[in-house]
């Protein structure tokens, strides 16, 4: 595949809404390789939506550097699809005319796929082409917004909680469609979500934000193999402990895998969900130092 190696690259990224306001993003450095399905997680107010809006070029960073498909946003606009949480769509138009509008607005790229958009909008219990946007439910609007994103045949899809207001059947269907898009076209997908089991199967990359900073970032299999879940008693000297919780007379601790495990502790490989939850619970505290190699 041609094109840049990184789909999204942030270096010392800072964002604040107004000079006197607190920083929403502070010194964020991470990179998402092209072709990955990246989950963006973090507590409410962590800066996930801000980060996606910056990548989409709707906001300008207050400091630091951000590159999307090798360009400063919105430089690669034609190759990027962005679905905002609020799904702003013209209320008085019908679904069919919104898709026609999508085709018009993306004429210059020459890549608009009416069939890709229509498959998402109309198939499998989908929408009536003649229905007006204002008559649609939140989940149905999401379907229209995703149809536009698929029709665009973008190389990068930025999705802000795309599945939040979908019913379970639509969720499975549209997540399947997203994965198929990634399989067929090598599309990079960055999506924020609070639903960890959903991310566990679909994402092969993860960025975890907490308090405006990057707490964890990397390939999912590397993140999993770089942590270990310990159960036992005794001191944990020299271990880089992410989270420590009492269990009976001893404790359960999620630690970064280091040189040697402490004697007398039972070690198992944690699930992605366990790792993310531990980091989320401790997201307001100091970040656990990360090894340069991770």
């Amino acid at each position: 595949m041609s094109g840049p190696e990184w789909a999204v690259e942030a270096s010392g990224l800072v964002m604040r809404y107004g000079r006197r306001r607190a920083r929403v993003l502070d010194d964020c450095t991470f990179a998402v390789p092209a072709g990955r399905v990246c989950g963006l997680v973090g507590p409410n107010g962590a800066g996930k939506s801000t980060l996606l809006a910056l990548a989409a070029g709707l906001l300008r960073p207050s400091g630091g550097e951000l590159k999307v498909l090798g360009a400063v946003p919105p430089g690669a606009r034609a190759d990027v699809a962005y679905v905002a949480q609020s799904k702003p769509l013209p209320a008085q138009l019908t679904v069919a005319s919104v898709l026609r509008l999508g085709a018009e607005l993306n004429r210059s790229s020459g890549r608009w796929s009416a069939s890709a958009a229509e498959t998402i909008a109309y198939e499998q219990g989908g929408l009536d082409p003649k229905a007006r946007i204002r008559s649609l439910s939140g989940g149905q609007r999401t379907r229209v917004a995703l149809a536009l994103a698929f029709g665009k045949r973008a190389r990068l899809m930025l999705l802000d909680e795309p599945m939040a207001d979908l019913d379970p059947v639509a969720r499975q269907e549209l997540m399947g469609a997203l994965m198929a898009e990634a399989a067929e076209h090598g599309t990079t997908i960055v999506m924020s979500s609070h639903v960890l089991p959903e991310l566990e199967g679909t994402c092969d990359h993860l960025v975890l934000l907490g308090g405006g900073r990057v707490r964890l970032a990397g390939a999912v299999d590397e993140l999993v193999s770089s942590h270990v879940l310990l159960t036992g008693t005794g001191p944990l000297d020299g271990q880089r402990v992410v989270e420590h919780r009492p269990a009976g007379r001893g404790a359960t601790a999620l630690v970064r895998r280091g040189e040697a495990l402490p004697p007398g502790w039972d070690a198992v490989e944690p699930s992605l969900e366990e790792i993310v939850l531990a980091h989320l619970r401790t997201a307001s505290g100091p970040a656990v130092p990360e090894e340069a190699a991770v």
């Binding site: 997540m175 399947g176 994965m179 990634a182 399989a183 566990e200 199967g201 679909t202 994402c203 092969d204």
Partner: protein, 131 residues
Amino acid sequence: MFAYRIDRRSGVATYVQIVQQTKQALRLGLLDVGDQLPTAREVVAATAINPNTVLKAYRELEREGLVEARRGMGTFVRRTLGRADHDGLRADLAAWAKRARAEGLEREDALALAAAVLEEHFPQGREGEAG
């Protein structure tokens, strides 16, 4: 077409589930030599899992010589697995299970015992590893 069933709560890595289900399909005759496995696109559209997981499973099956990837065409079954047709072994096991029950073992006790003996005679295969 052959379809995979992914159980996200089983604790078994997703790619291992695909490998195991393919082998089971070969043993049961649901898949035979020359049959095409579903494409990665088809699998992920139906199951909403990451495409790389499917590719990882297919690479593992290819490494074991069970399937081959033909460029631009798909992945095809190369070799099948022995069908489970072992009446004698089954009868022995049935007699053992009957005796275990008569001696007062619970279902879990019997399973644990059988698992321990199996582990002795079939040391942990690669499939059991997490990843």
